[in-house]
């Protein structure tokens, strides 16, 4: 079934699916259907990670001060190449949240109080809170404006909303300084038209800040062509590096806008003059050397990025082959699962939402916005029955389903409420195949039926 999608002709390459599972570290009874939240690493990368950690303890000072920076450069180089970005524009940070924080906390807001941060209502939770904090802590210098779009949106619609937001912001005397948006939003897991919005930002003179938390390794990225002002992407999700590894890309023209790391540390070049830096002297740019050491942590995950790129190339057959498979599996596997549940996947008419490795399957659980109906009601529609309940109860149901999945089914699937309905997000990966999605469909159907029997209420009472 998968063979037509995994680049036939490379006899040495594995067929994706269960054959690839042997490279990974899952418990034999655990099925990993949610790669998108925290990712995971193959055994080879685990070995590399351990190897770097052993180098650390073998000669701690020498490794951290002299050898680590060189290895870090190699790793930056490998990732920069994959992203088609100049190496001097790419540094490592532990995760995308830190990347976004680093940019937003460095921007200097104008004294006139007119600066505005634009973002979409699809923003990731922690990044939304970062905007809140920036607004809260800058004594009125900067405000935030949310652009509301409804799933499933069309790309053109998003562009139109953006233009309208910029115009209306300006019409009330505001200055849209920066716009934060995703490559792929988290829940629902759908592609955001980030290329279009980056073009629009450029056109309107708004700084583009791209949250590519779901990015490298999942979809093809060309940062030079994209030409965003700031871009961050997690390597630990889809590139198979150990957790705590992300890229922050800042083109040379914008590096002066990011003078400090988070936390501010040794590399900071103060306007008032340089201070003692305990690390060996360097000829690297302030941007690169600043992010080389931000306080003692284990930087081994950063070093593994180079190894992960290579492993994916040599063992999995490269980025194109991987992405062709995962995109196909997400869409077709998602459809299969939805068919079993008796529902549909989330997509738009132009099918741009599903050009990624995530897919969202509607659950037959409807959410009524009014609080009048205080408890759930079951209705039969066609071949499957569907439940309707108020928002508060639906949240409890989502929580219950997640816990039951771990306990009874040895897997995990995130649930969320969108467009008046409960949805399940599945992640495609090279170690999964159509059978896993069929299994997921059956499990989701089973869960929906258990919800219909109000099992979550029994649990609540216990």
């Amino acid at each position: 079934m998968a063979s037509s999608h995994d680049g036939a002709g490379h006899n040495s390459l594995p067929e994706f699916g269960s054959e690839v599972l042997k490279h990974f570290l899952f418990d034999s009874d655990y099925r990993n259907l949610n790669h998108g939240s925290f990712g995971t690493i193959p055994r080879h990368i685990q070995n590399r990670l351990r190897h770097y950690q052993e180098l650390y303890e073998a000669r701690p000072d020498q490794f951290i001060r002299y050898d680590l920076p060189k290895l870090l450069d190699k790793s930056r180089e490998a990732v920069a190449k994959l992203l088609n970005a100049p190496t001097e524009t790419v540094v490592f940070v532990p995760n995308a949240t830190i990347g976004i924080n680093t940019v937003l906390r460095n921007l200097v807001w104008n004294d006139d109080g007119r600066d505005e941060i634009l973002y979409f209502n699809t923003v990731y939770g922690s990044c939304g809170k970062t905007i809140d904090y920036i607004v809260d802590s800058n004594s009125g210098l900067v405000s935030a404006k949310e652009i509301t779009i409804a799933y499933p949106f069309e790309d053109d619609e998003v562009v139109a909303k953006f233009r309208h937001a910029v115009d209306s912001s300006r019409s009330v005397g505001k200055r849209p300084r920066v716009c934060l948006y995703d490559t792929i939003s988290s829940l629902p897991g759908v592609v955001f038209p980030f290329e279009n919005i980056t073009r629009e930002c450029r056109k309107y003179g708004v700084l583009s800040l791209v949250d590519g938390a779901q990015g490298i390794g999942q979809i093809k990225l060309d940062l030079t062509t994209l030409d965003a002002d700031f871009f961050t992407t997690n390597c630990h999700k889809w590139l198979h590096t150990p957790r705590g590894c992300a890229i922050l890309y800042v083109p040379l023209r914008n590096q002066a806008l990011v003078p400090s790391t988070l936390p501010t540390s040794h590399g900071y070049v103060a306007k008032t003059g340089a201070r003692f830096n305990p690390l060996p002297p360097t000829t690297k740019s302030p941007f690169v050397s600043n992010f080389e050491f931000v306080g003692t942590v284990d930087a081994s995950p950063f070093l593994c990025a180079k190894d992960a790129v290579k492993w994916r190339e040599e063992v999995l057959g490269g980025e194109d082959r991987i992405m062709a498979y995962t995109e196909w599996l997400a869409r077709e596997g998602g459809k299969k699962a939805a068919q079993i549940v008796g529902t549909k996947i989330m997509d738009n008419k132009t099918r741009t939402l599903t050009k990624c490795a995530l897919v969202n399957i509607a659950m037959p659980i409807h959410v009524s916005s009014s609080n009048r109906s205080s408890s759930a009601t079951t209705t039969s529609t066609g071949y499957s029955s569907s439940v309707s309940m108020p928002t508060g109860e639906a949240s409890v149901v989502c929580q219950w389903m997640s816990e039951v999945l771990v306990k009874d089914y040895k897997t995990f699937i995130p649930f969320f409420i969108s467009a008046g309905q409960v949805w399940a997000r599945l992640s495609a990966q090279v170690y999964l195949d159509m059978r896993d999605f069929e299994w997921a469909g059956k499990v989701l159907l089973d869960l929906a039926q258990r919800v219909g029997k109000r099992e979550y209420k029994i649990k609540e009472r216990l």
Binding site: Q62, Y133, F276, K410
Partner: protein, 566 residues
């Protein structure tokens, strides 16, 4: 009465429980620490557990397991566990305070000139971005304890006496990093609080190093690294904020899921600012090391005989090491009457190096032969000693130039013994002597030896035995380190950091500089030190493992390989 350790402290402890390369001499625990192999085993097990079922571990069980680590550390530091969270390092903890306080016009942050570098940068950022004035007391250390307290209190009063100004925050250390010196923090905290300041204690060198009782000290903010002196894997610090101050710390760094905005973007019920939750999850990272506290405690208790036993040995070996080093270097140990600065695992030994005075620099004739260092090369000399110490002798000399004098900061730790400091001091003495030679000025190391700029920086071979595919790093080694005749290459066994020597090409003698750069006396001293060091190693075998199973491994590691450059 401290309990005796299971394995004697010193070389036996090193061989039985630590993963250092056999050719490495660790005399600088203080910068980055290290952890014993039993803690590493616990850490590997945790990491394996995450990959076996990632979502349940991270999303469902992590916070409650972290709570156990927090409770254990809170117990040791004597605070309530809802006042203590984990952050990656002290720098992050301190910057979290600096970036959270609601700074008001006229607010001043007070510190002394030995405030840690990254903290000083944090203050510069605060000045530039928030207009908060830092006030640094420039006064030469060491300073007697009474005078430290007086100087901080008097300065606070002077600043507070100025209209519109107040010292909002004062920063002091438990132990200063460079020079390594204990600070009378127990006295500073109440004295400065009495003047109306909040006090932030930088305990980067704190837990596992000096006794800390937060219940008595009552600082406003405190952070301490667990990866330095407590044996938790790197990237782990405890950050303490008493309940009365938690409302001031509104967000973690980075701002993340735990933030409770004043005007939320999303519909949610306003809640109390739950300090603990704020720091439970600040973005995906590997924080399994936060769960290694228990393994570290077990090692400290079961293997080392407890905190008192560790502290007693570390103090003793620091004192012995410093005395031996000062004797060999012909110098003295930094101290001042009326100070407890030496009540810690650091000692600072003056290095036999002199800076040229301005007059001497201008007098070209004497400047060629005085054996002193040109001020323009001062920092380069420190860097050169660090670099060459690593590449030639497998020792990192944490040395610094402070107000015109060079100091070597040594760290006492349970895995070092007197002989280690003897070896280290001999190597450092040689290095200092080589720096006396005028032709080893900055330009010389470039031209004659390539040592400073172009020599590969280390012998760590990046090859891994069990690779199934060819590794880039082999090319890397070839291209970057292949020319290094003196390098020890080692291949590691993937199991718990055990290292063994693979090949070793020993230099016939030190690469000579331009003729005359090393005079005969220096050369013969080199050889003598090498012989001496070998004898030391053999004696280490003798008393070292003492019937322990580790001994054969140690012998196997060294047998037939002329690896020591000491």
């Amino acid at each position: 009465m401290p309990q005796p350790p299971q394995v004697p402290f010193g070389a036996p402890m090193r061989h039985a429980h630590f993963a250092f390369s056999p050719s490495y001499l660790p005399l600088n625990h203080g910068s980055y620490g290290t952890h014993p192999v039993s803690v590493r085993a616990a850490h590997l097990a945790l990491r394996a557990e995450v990959e076996a079922a990632p979502d349940p571990f991270i999303a469902l069980h992590f916070a409650s397991r972290l709570a156990k680590s927090r409770a254990a550390v809170a117990g040791l530091l004597r605070c309530s566990s809802d006042e203590l969270v984990f952050v990656p390092n002290a720098t992050t903890g301190i910057d979290t305070v600096l970036k959270n306080l609601d700074w008001k016009p006229g607010d001043v942050v007070l510190c002394y000139e030995l405030v840690y570098g990254s903290v000083a940068n944090g203050l510069s950022w605060l000045e530039e971005a928030r207009g908060v004035e830092p006030h640094v007391i420039f006064r030469e250390w060491p300073i007697a304890d009474d005078d430290i307290v007086k100087m901080m209190v008097d300065t606070t009063r002077q600043i507070n006496a100025q209209p519109g100004k107040r010292v909002r925050l004062a920063i002091c250390d438990t132990i200063i990093s460079g020079p390594g010196a204990r600070v009378p923090f127990e006295r500073l905290v109440p004295a400065l609080q009495a003047e109306g300041a909040m006090v932030l204690v930088d305990g980067a060198h704190g837990i596992g190093h000096v006794d800390i009782d937060l219940g008595v000290m009552k600082p406003d903010f405190f952070v301490t690294n667990l990866h330095k002196w407590f044996f938790v894997p790197r990237g782990c610090a405890a950050f303490y904020v008493p309940k009365k101050n938690q409302a001031l710390i509104r967000t973690s760094l980075p701002t993340s899921h735990g933030f409770k905005p004043k005007r939320p973007l999303f519909l949610s019920t306003p809640e109390e600012n739950a300090f603990e939750e704020l720091f439970d999850f600040t973005g995906t990272s590997d924080t399994t090391n936060y769960l290694c506290v228990e393994a570290a405690l077990r090692f400290r208790h079961d293997v080392c005989g407890g905190e008192a036993s560790i502290q007693q040995y570390c103090r003793w070996i620091t004192e012995r090491g410093a005395t031996i080093a000062a004797e060999i270097l012909g110098t003295h140990i930094m101290n001042i009457p009326g100070s407890r600065m030496r009540e810690c695992n650091f000692a600072n030994i003056r290095m036999p190096l002199e800076l040229r005075t301005e007059h001497e620099v201008n007098n070209r004739e004497t400047a060629e032969q005085d054996g002193k260092v040109d001020p323009r090369h001062a920092n380069a000399v420190s860097d050169w000693i660090k670099h060459v110490g690593c590449t030639e002798s497998g020792t990192y000399f944490q040395n610094f130039l402070y107000r015109g004098n060079w100091w070597w900061r040594i760290s006492g730790m349970i895995y070092v013994e007197e002989a280690d400091f003897r070896k280290g001091a001999h190597v450092l003495k040689q290095l200092c002597a080589r720096n006396h030679v005028p032709c080893l000025g900055r330009r010389s190391y470039d031209e004659t030896s390539d040592e400073y700029n172009d020599l590969p920086s280390g012998p760590s071979d990046i090859r891994c035995q069990d690779l199934t595919i060819p590794d880039l790093s082999a090319d890397y080694t070839q291209a970057h380190w292949g020319l290094d005749e003196t390098a020890v290459t080692f291949v590691e066994d993937i199991s718990l950091g055990a290292c063994r020597i693979k090949t070793r090409k020993c230099p016939e003698e030190k690469p000579t500089q331009t003729p005359g750069s090393l005079d005969e006396a220096h050369q013969s001293e080199t050889l003598e030190v090498e012989r001496f060091a070998k004898a030391e190693i053999h004696s280490a075998h003798g008393h070292g493992a003492g019937g322990n199973d580790e001994e054969p491994m140690w012998n196997a590691l060294t047998e037939g390989s002329e690896w020591s450059t000491f």
